[in-house]
Symmetry: C2
């Protein structure tokens, strides 16, 4: 099962609305990087509003997607991290270092715009 | 399995990237109408770029989504209909009456903007 990736002008919009198991997360990582390459995207918004739980493996994969995308020249913003997810991440000592975040998809796009203007 | 629906400002963006079986299509219909109601969306873009095949039942469900959304006060644009799908629809004599279409997501959003300005 794959997570749909929408292309909108220079950006990719991704709303994760399935439970992220390890296999789905790794497939997702590959698909995002492939799509950035294919479309020449400058920015990516990954919306996690519908994600209730993140474990350390998924957190690492997400962090890696951000780093890998940056290497390829695209900025990534994570949006809509739920309170319970934020609590779990901090409790488990997982730090999403230098990962730009925003409240929702709209604010994520605004944030991306700002990041790309720097 | 549900098709993810993204909310962006006044619009809903939907990229159908799974095979539409009957059950998925009906669930999709319900989810779109529910989400329009919930978010107060004025327009919806349904992108079919990744859909290779549409049968008469799916075509009817999609046509119904458009009519139902219009009743609720939201305009719908279908985008990215593949050549093979267009051929099948016309060959089968299925007419998506008065359904606005566009080439891709970007042009769908532009079309929506125009429709809503009328």
């Amino acid at each position: 099962m794959r997570i749909p990736i929408l292309k909108l002008h220079d950006y990719l919009l991704i709303s994760v609305q399935v439970e992220l198991d390890d296999q789905t997360a790794l497939q997702f990582q590959e698909d995002v990087l492939e799509k950035i390459h294919e479309e020449g995207s400058r920015g990516v918004v990954i919306d996690l509003t519908s994600v209730d739980m993140i474990d350390s493996f998924i957190a690492k994969v997400l962090g890696d997607v951000v780093d890998m995308s940056n290497l390829m020249g695209a900025r990534v913003v994570l949006t809509g991290i739920q309170p319970a997810v934020a609590i779990t991440l901090i409790d488990m000592g997982i730090v999403l270092d230098d990962v730009p975040t925003a409240l929702d998809l709209e604010q994520g796009l605004d944030r991306l715009q700002l990041e790309l203007e720097d």
